[in-house]
Structure formats: structure tokens, C-alpha cells
């Protein structure tokens, strides 16, 4: 069993990354009137970051499932 604090920290980190990705300073970076392969940059960024966040969550959740008690 892993140290439950590691699980907590990892979850906190993922959440923080999510908040960072979807709030103003970072969000504003991609809020531009440009397209990549014809698709607006903002749309690509939002769905890409969303997918990446879900991937991170899947990783930490799987690890956490091993050591359930916190």
C-alpha cells in the first residue's frame, strides 16, 4: 500500500492543473482568432486540454483504486 498522502497530493495536483488550464491566464493565451488545419485554436485547445485532464484523472484514479483508504 502506498502512502495515502501521495494519492491526495496527486489528486490535488491534477485538480490544480485542470483549474489552471481552464481559467484566465492560460485560457487567454489560446483565445485568439486563428485556426489550425481550419479548426479554431480555442476549440482545439479546449478539447485537447480536456482530454489530457481526463487522461491524467484516469491515471491517478487507477493508482488510487489500489489504496483506497485515506
Amino acid at each position: 500500500m502506498r502512502d495515502p498522502r501521495t494519492t491526495s497530493d496527486r489528486n490535488r495536483a491534477v485538480f490544480a492543473a485542470g483549474v489552471l488550464a481552464f481559467t484566465v491566464p492560460v485560457l487567454a493565451l489560446f483565445n485568439v482568432e486563428a485556426t489550425v488545419f481550419g479548426v479554431p485554436v480555442l476549440y482545439l485547445y479546449l478539447f485537447g486540454a480536456w482530454g489530457a485532464l481526463i487522461g491524467l484523472m484516469a491515471l491517478t484514479a487507477r493508482r488510487a483504486a489500489g489504496d483506497d483508504e485515506g
Binding site: 489528486n11 481552464f22 484566465v24 485560457l27 479554431p40 476549440y43 482530454g51 485532464l53
Partner: protein
């Protein structure tokens, strides 16, 4: 052309399929092979979050605002990223304390408060009603749009259609039937509605598949992929504008909607129902935590393409963007795809309506109606025999009412608003629970007063800034107050409260309502105090992972097991009550048949069991109705006192127990000593008897042997020896008789022939019997006995025996040279006193009591030849005491001895008896 009856038949077939799936799910559950015990099914059921609001409304919102619909789905993803801290904790708390709904959860946390539970329920009912009506409206609209296939005609207002011609009406009917059938099977609201969860999971698949199908068709069938679609949109300035978030207001809206959705995924009653109440295994959360956001991502990928596609294709306008999902396939002449889209929207709507109505029914029943009914003493509900029927009836009625009200709301108000706006009104209402919930599970100091204040303030602002203006927009009340403020007070205009402008109305409402909510919650919590039960509930909730289950606030007082069982049986049925009690007895190792009083722990167990059926607040009231509880005084002091006094009580009981033990030990020791003494006495008795018997036997045998061996013994000596043998034999006989007498006396088997008699007679008999002895020893006998004496009640033979004994003893021990014995009798003070006095050597003080014990003779038995058997006096004592008298001796060494006894006179005895 899609005929109305055909669309209706497809819808009917789809709903029938739902019934079949739900039925199958229940069957599987009954056979113990659960269909829903699976993390993927669990994640799909959470996707009930995506209602027809997602299915139709997201596109509508995207068509007008670009990505502004996305926070509604990114918010839940962020909330799930925090699952380890929030969702997992809520789940554990709810499972541990058998929470049945969000109202129950909040009420439990704040001291099982009925007021708070009721308030939450009312807010939910008011807040969620528009949301239900929204689903009905979506179904009704999509049906009417599809009806005109292949023409694309926007439907007229629903008000123009008769109720019985309205699809939404039949949908509402079917949904209430479904919810009643599969949602109110069990009385225990914490039991899983397996059929419904299975059907909801199925619906999630259908709506996702339908939406993806439409998305793929629009993107790749009507356009040439994403790039083509967006490039063509970019050419139109009004659409290119939607590619970015607009300025400061856009960011604020983005952020507030994200926060709002984060709160909603936890606080919406239907989300609480599927993700907490219907959860079968806490471990499923770890998978759902990324699977559900993935579902959200998937269902949103094609929202923007469909929105832009719609705006490009229906460039001339006249088509409501909320219907693009349906009208685009229609425009592409894909009737089957359009039908599929209709079914997808139907599934999105029905899933939400079913789960919400069940969650509502539990809440209204457990947290609103039951507490009120239980409070109404006149109904004497707590004494009713069977309440389970009533509970179910309330829940069923609630479902029908909720759907009826939802339908009514749609007919009266719903037409004036777009889908997304109606949905957001509900979201903001639900978000008001977030401070109380999140604060409740992390902050022990959060008080009931704080939660009430926060909720009331937040909801008041919500009502004023969002709901009231929505009424105004529907034309129910004058819209003037929106623009000018009520009574012309511009400062408090509902869409620009205190001059906060530049925001859309929802962001505005979210910011203000959550602000006052949080400030009220935290502020009032800081200045108010918790009652004892609030404090213990707070600890239980916040420290749920520390296994503090056992520290729950105990009931002070107790109830009988019988009452408790009767109570449980009334609410959950007798069989279940039996099972529950048996389980408790097994765990605690109790024998129920012999347990009369239910202690605090038992009460707590029963309360929790009951909470699963009627909610925490009602359960507490119901248990209180059977418990004889001392009412708590000043709560704060009581809490401390309670803990201390429990410790003291515990210590006191321990002390009592140890004292009891000590007492028992002492008694045991005494009993043991007595037994040992008796054992020793018995040994002594036997050895003494053998000794006493051997003495005469030895002399008989010795003289017998001398006589047998010496033939030449002279006749005089022979006669002397034979005399000794005869005397010793007599002594032996006497001894044996006396032993038998004593044994009989001691065993209480002596036969007594009690008569009332003048004691002078027996005294004379005794003197006559001993006259030979007296003459032989040549002593002087003085007799001072009156001719007549008052009667005594005795056995005359035994009285003679006593007297003979005493006289023979006196003769034996009196002075050998000038001996005299004096026998005197007199009646005095209700007693007859008889004295026998001699002038023998007398008795020492030690011997005076010893002579009445068995085989104890005065003097040294080792050096002197015993002059008696040592049994005469003990026998005399037994006899005198049996007659109710007393025997004693007074003497001084060298001055003779006086043996005396008293007997109660017969008439004195009668008088005493009277």
C-alpha cells in the same frame, strides 16, 4: 412523411423497451445477479446529467455564444478531479449513515434538523420544477417538429394545443408510471433501484449514440469534415465572432458557469441520487471518475459543428437553434436519423425526469411530509400500526404531483424561454446547497444556524435575481421592475444588483447568490454555537474516514426492545424488522428473547436502520417517541457533562461491580471457612465417638478376657469383674442411645409429643428415677418444688430426660464426702425456672459454655477417667431450646455449680401469640 401515429408508436416502443430493461434489471437483482454492479454502468448512470438540455440546448447555446456552453461540462470534470476529497467522502458518509437524499444529507450533518431538511426539500421542489418542465417541453417540441417532416416548421406555442393532444402530457403520464413502478418498490430508500439504474444507463448509451450519429452526419455528410465546416463558418463575420471568448465579461461568465457546474454535479438531486444513493460499491467511483468526464467530452465534440452547420444551412433564419439536432437531419432528408435523434432526445428527457422524480419523492416524503405528519400530535401517527403503506403512498403521490406541476409550469411559463436558460435557473438553485455540503464535510465548526442563514440568503437572492424576472418575462408580472428596479429603486434592479452590470443574468445571479450564501454560512457559523447533537454529527461527518462511527451521540435513556421492534415493523414491515434485529443480536451476541431494554447502542442501530427508510430527521423523531429520554438542558454544558457523566457512570458501575465481587468473595470465604469448620467438627465428632465407644468396650473386653483366661479366679473377684462388665455395657448402651437421640435432634427427626402439663409431675418422676442413684451415693437431696405449678407445653418424657440428666450429673460431681444436691422449681414472670445445684468442684469460666458442647467435659479428660458420656448436656440443651426455653450454668471453682433452665408458661405463650 413521418406520420404522427408512427412517431408516437416509436416513442411508445422506446418507452416500452425501457420498462422491459428496468423489469429485467429488477429480476436480475432479485436473483442476486445484479446488472448494475459494474463501474461502467455506474458511470453511464451518472451521465443522467446530460438531459435534453444537453441534447438540444447545448447546440442552441453554442449557436448563439460559441464555447460558452462548455463550462457546464468542464465544471463536472474538475469536480470529479477532486473526487478523492469530496465525492468519496460524501459517498462514505452516505453509506455509513444510510443517507437517502441530498436533503437528508444536509439535515443529518446539521444535527438531523427537520427544519433544514424541509427547507432543502422546498428549495429543490421549487428549483427543479422548471427543469422537469424543460424536459417535457423538449419532447413536445421535438415531436411537433418531426411531425412536419420533411418540411421544417417551428411549432406553435404549446398553449394553443389541447392537453389531450399534447405529447408532453402523455410523456409525463408514462414517466410517472415508470417512476412509480420501479422507483417505489422498496420502502427503504437506500436500497438500490436496480431496474431504473439499468434503464438510465441504457438511455445514456442511446442519447450518446444518437447525438454522435447526427454529429457525424452533419460534419461529414452535409459538410466535408471539421476543417471545411469551420472554414465556411469563418467566412461569415457573425459566426467567426463565436470562435473566441469575448472580453472580460466572457471570462467572468466562463468562470462562474464552471463553478456553477462544479456545484451542480454534486448538488443536483438527481446527481446525488445516481452517484451516491444508487452507488453499489465505493470502488466503482475510481473508474467513473474518468469515464463520466470522457462521456461528457464525447457528447460535446459535435456540438459546435452542429451549431455552425445549422447556422450555415438555415442561413435565412426562422429555425430555432434548439432544434438543430433534429432539423439538420430533416434538412438532409434523413428520416431515420431524424427519428433516431428524436429518440435520443426522448431518452435524455425521460432519464432526467425519472431520476429527479424519484429523488424528489424520497425527499418530499422523508424530509417534508413525514416530519410534519409526525409533529401533528393529533394524527397520532407515531402510534399507527403500519406506516410503510403510507410512506409509499406519499412517495407515489409526490411523483405524480411533481410531473403534474412540471407539466403545468411548462404550459404556463416554459414557452417564453430558451432551454438553456431554464436549465441554468435550476442549476443556480441547486448550487445553493454547495456551501452547506462542502463546508459540512470539511469544517466542524459549521453550525445549523450558519447553514440555514446561508441557504435562506442564497435562495432569496436566486429568487429575486433569476426566478422572479423569469416570471416577469413570461408576462405574469409587470416587467417594469427589471429595468427600473422595484418601486423605482435602481440600486436593486434584479439583473444589476447594487450596480453590478456588464454580466449576463445567470453569472450575475451566481455571483450574488453564492456570495451572500457563503458569507451568511461562514459568518453565522462563526458567531453561533452548535448544540450537542450538531457537534457530534459534525465530527461524524468530517472524520468519517477515521472510523468514528461508534462515537455517535448516544441516546440518553432507553426503550424496550418490544417497542423498538414494533416501531421498526410499522415502518419497514415485520419480516425486515425481524431480520434487522436478528442481525444486531448476532453481531452483539445478544439473546433477544431475554433482552428487555434496548440500550443506547441498540437505539442508535435502530435509528440508522430507520433512517434508510424515512430519513435521519424523521427517524430521530420516531425513535424519540419510544425512548424515555431525559430532555437535554443547556446543550453545551450537557455535552461536556454527558461525556464526563458517562465516564463517571461507567466508573461508578465498575466500582459497584467490584464491590459486589468483593462482597461475594467475602461470603464465599466465610462459607468456605464454615464448611471447613463443619468438616473439622465432623471429624472431631467421629473420632470422639470412636474414642467414647472404645473406652467402655476396652474395659468390657479386658475384663472378659481376664475371666476367660483365668479359670482359677476367685468367685468374689469374678463377681466384681462381671459387675464392671455389666456397668460398662449399660454405659455403652446409654451412650449409643444418646448418640442416636442427638443425631435425631440435630436432624430434626425427633418425634415430639407435646402436651400442656403441670411440670411438677415430670419433676417428681425424675426424682423417683434418680432416687436409687442418690441413695447409693449417700448424698443429701433437698427438693423445693411446690405441689402445683402453672402448666407448660412440653414433651413430658423429654423433660424427664433433661431433669434426670441434670440430677445424675449433680450426683456424679458433688462432694464425695459431704455431698448434697438441691432441686428447686418456681414460676416467675411467665417462665418456669428449674435449678439443680450441687456442691461439687464447680466449673471454671471457660468450661461453663463448653460443657454444653458435644463430648466436652469439665476438667482434663486425659488424666481423669470420664464420669459421663459428654452428651447429656448437649441433648438437654437441644430439648430445652426446642421447648422455647434456655439452659445455662452458674458456678465458681470450688463452690459447686448450679444448672438452671427456664420454660415459657403455656398461658404466657398464648398471650404472646395473641
Amino acid at each position: 412523411m413521418l406520420a404522427g401515429w408512427f412517431i408516437f408508436a416509436v416513442g411508445f416502443a422506446y418507452v416500452s423497451l425501457l420498462f422491459a430493461i428496468a423489469y429485467y434489471g429488477e429480476r436480475r437483482a432479485d436473483r442476486g445477479r445484479s446488472l448494475i454492479r459494474n463501474p461502467s454502468i455506474y458511470a453511464l448512470s451518472i451521465a443522467v446529467y446530460c438531459t435534453s438540455w444537453t441534447f438540444y440546448g447545448s447546440v442552441g447555446r453554442a449557436a448563439a455564444g460559441g464555447v460558452s456552453f462548455l463550462p457546464i461540462y468542464i465544471g463536472p470534470t474538475l469536480a470529479f478531479a477532486l473526487w478523492w476529497f469530496v465525492l468519496r467522502k460524501i459517498l462514505r458518509i452516505s453509506k455509513t449513515y444510510r443517507i437517502t437524499s441530498i436533503a437528508d444529507f444536509i439535515a443529518s450533518r446539521y444535527g438531523k434538523s427537520m427544519v433544514l431538511g424541509g427547507l432543502v426539500t422546498v428549495i429543490v421542489v421549487v428549483g427543479v420544477m422548471p427543469y422537469i418542465s424543460l424536459q417535457l417541453k423538449a419532447v413536445s417540441t421535438s415531436f411537433k417538429v418531426l411531425l412536419h417532416y420533411p418540411e421544417i416548421v417551428m411549432p406553435a406555442e404549446a398553449r394553443s394545443v389541447a392537453v389531450f393532444g399534447d405529447t408532453a402530457f402523455y410523456v409525463a403520464l408514462a414517466m410517472s408510471a415508470f417512476a412509480i413502478l420501479f422507483g417505489t418498490r422498496h420502502i427503504d430508500a437506500t436500497e438500490h433501484h436496480e431496474g431504473i439504474v439499468a434503464a438510465i444507463a441504457f438511455e445514456s448509451i442511446v442519447k450518446l449514440a444518437a447525438f454522435l450519429a447526427v454529429g457525424v452526419f452533419v460534419t461529414f455528410g452535409m459538410f466535408d469534415g471539421f476543417a471545411d465546416l469551420f472554414t465556411r463558418a469563418a467566412a461569415r463575420p457573425d459566426l467567426a465572432r463565436l470562435f473566441t471568448i469575448r472580453g472580460g465579461g466572457g471570462y467572468v461568465q466562463w468562470t462562474t458557469l464552471t463553478v456553477l457546474a462544479m456545484a451542480a454535479i454534486v448538488c443536483l438531486p438527481r446527481q446525488f441520487q445516481v452517484s451516491v444513493v444508487e452507488n453499489t460499491d465505493e470502488r466503482h467511483l475510481a473508474k467513473a471518475v474518468w469515464l463520466f468526464p470522457l462521456y461528457l467530452l464525447a457528447i460535446n465534440v459535435f456540438v459546435l459543428p452542429i451549431a455552425f452547420g445549422g447556422r450555415l444551412i438555415f442561413a435565412q433564419g426562422g429555425v430555432d437553434p434548439d432544434t438543430f439536432v433534429l432539423t439538420l437531419p430533416m434538412a438532409g432528408n434523413q428520416e431515420w436519423l431524424a427519428l433516431f435523434a428524436f429518440v435520443g432526445g426522448l431518452s435524455a428527457a425521460t432519464g432526467m425526469v425519472i431520476v429527479t422524480s424519484i429523488a424528489l419523492s424520497t425527499m418530499v416524503c422523508n424530509d417534508l411530509v413525514m416530519p410534519i405528519l409526525l409533529r401533528l400530535k393529533r394524527l397520532r401517527l407515531a402510534e399507527r400500526r403500519d406506516l410503510s403503506g403510507l410512506l409509499l403512498a406519499i412517495r407515489r403521490l409526490t411523483i405524480v404531483l411533481a410531473l403534474g406541476l412540471g407539466y403545468l409550469y411548462m404550459r404556463l411559463i416554459g414557452e417564453s424561454y430558451t432551454l438553456v436558460t431554464i436549465g441554468l435557473v435550476s442549476f443556480v438553485a441547486a448550487a445553493q446547497f454547495a456551501p452547506a455540503i462542502v463546508g459540512g464535510i470539511f469544517w466542524k465548526r459549521a453550525t445549523l444556524a450558519g447553514a440555514l442563514a446561508g441557504l435562506v440568503l442564497g435562495v432569496a437572492v436566486w429568487f429575486y435575481t433569476l426566478l422572479l424576472p423569469s416570471f416577469a418575462r413570461s408576462g405574469w408580472i409587470s416587467a417594469n421592475f427589471i429595468d427600473d428596479g422595484p418601486f423605482g429603486l435602481a440600486l436593486i434592479r434584479p439583473y444589476a444588483l447594487f450596480g453590478l452590470t456588464g454580466l449576463d443574468e445567470v453569472s450575475h445571479a451566481v455571483i450574488w447568490s453564492l456570495l451572500v450564501n457563503i458569507v451568511g454560512f461562514v459568518g453565522v457559523s462563526l458567531v453561533s454555537r452548535q448544540t450537542a447533537i450538531e457537534r457530534s454529527q459534525a465530527v461524524l461527518f468530517v472524520d468519517v474516514f477515521r472510523g468514528s462511527e461508534g462515537r455517535s451521540r448516544a441516546w440518553r435513556g432507553s426503550a424496550t426492545v418490544e417497542d423498538l421492534h414494533a416501531l421498526l415493523a410499522r415502518l419497514v414491515g415485520p419480516e425486515r424488522a425481524d431480520r434487522v434485529f436478528a442481525r444486531y443480536a448476532r453481531v452483539r451476541g445478544l439473546d433477544l428473547a431475554r433482552t428487555v431494554a434496548a440500550d443506547a447502542r441498540f437505539l442508535q442501530f435502530a435509528e440508522r436502520e430507520l433512517a434508510g427508510a424515512v430519513g435521519a430527521a424523521s427517524a430521530r423523531v420516531l425513535i424519540a417517541s419510544v425512548v424515555e429520554e431525559a430532555p437535554p438542558g443547556i446543550d453545551d454544558v450537557m455535552e461536556i457533562l454527558d461525556e464526563t457523566s458517562q465516564a463517571i457512570e461507567y466508573g461508578r458501575r465498575l466500582e459497584e461491580k467490584s464491590r459486589e465481587l468483593e462482597r461475594a468473595t467475602r461470603e464465599l470465604r466465610r462459607a468456605n471457612a464454615r464448611l471447613q469448620e463443619l468438616d473439622r467438627l465432623k471429624d472431631d465428632f467421629i473420632s470422639t465417638i470412636s474414642h467414647e465407644l472404645r473406652t467402655p468396650l476396652t474395659s468390657i473386653r479386658s475384663f472378659g478376657e481376664i475371666l476367660a483366661d483365668n479359670e482359677a479366679i476367685n468367685p468374689a473377684q469374678r463377681r466384681e469383674f462381671l459387675g464392671i462388665i455389666i456397668k460398662e455395657s449399660e454405659r455403652l448402651t446409654r451412650l449409643i442411645n444418646q448418640i442416636l437421640d442427638l443425631a435425631k435432634l440435630e436432624a430434626g427427626r425427633m418425634e415430639w409429643h407435646m402436651v400442656e402439663i403441670d411440670p411438677a409431675g415430670p419433676i417428681e418422676d425424675a426424682l423417683a428415677a434418680t432416687s436409687g442413684l442418690v441413695r447409693e451415693s449417700g448424698i443429701r437431696l433437698e427438693v423445693a418444688v411446690p405441689d402445683r405449678l402453672p402448666a407448660v407445653r412440653v414433651d413430658p418424657d423429654r423433660l424427664v430426660q433433661v431433669l434426670v440428666n441434670l440430677i445424675a450429673n449433680a450426683v456424679k460431681f458433688c462432694d464425695p464426702d459431704d455431698g448434697w444436691v438441691r432441686v428447686a422449681a418456681a414460676a416467675l414472670d411467665g417462665f418456669l425456672t428449674v435449678e439443680v445445684r450441687d456442691n461439687g468442684p464447680g466449673l471454671g469460666a471457660g468450661d461453663q459454655s463448653r460443657v454444653f458442647e458435644k463430648f466436652q467435659q469439665a476438667g482434663d479428660t486425659l488424666t481423669e477417667r470420664p464420669r459421663g458420656t459428654g452428651l447429656g448436656l448437649p441433648i438437654s440443651r437441644q430439648i430445652v431450646e426446642h421447648f422455647g426455653g434456655r439452659i445455662w450454668v452458674t458456678s465458681r471453682l470450688g463452690e459447686g455449680a448450679t444448672f438452671a433452665f427456664t420454660l415459657p408458661l403455656a398461658n404466657a405463650r398464648k398471650r404472646a401469640a395473641r
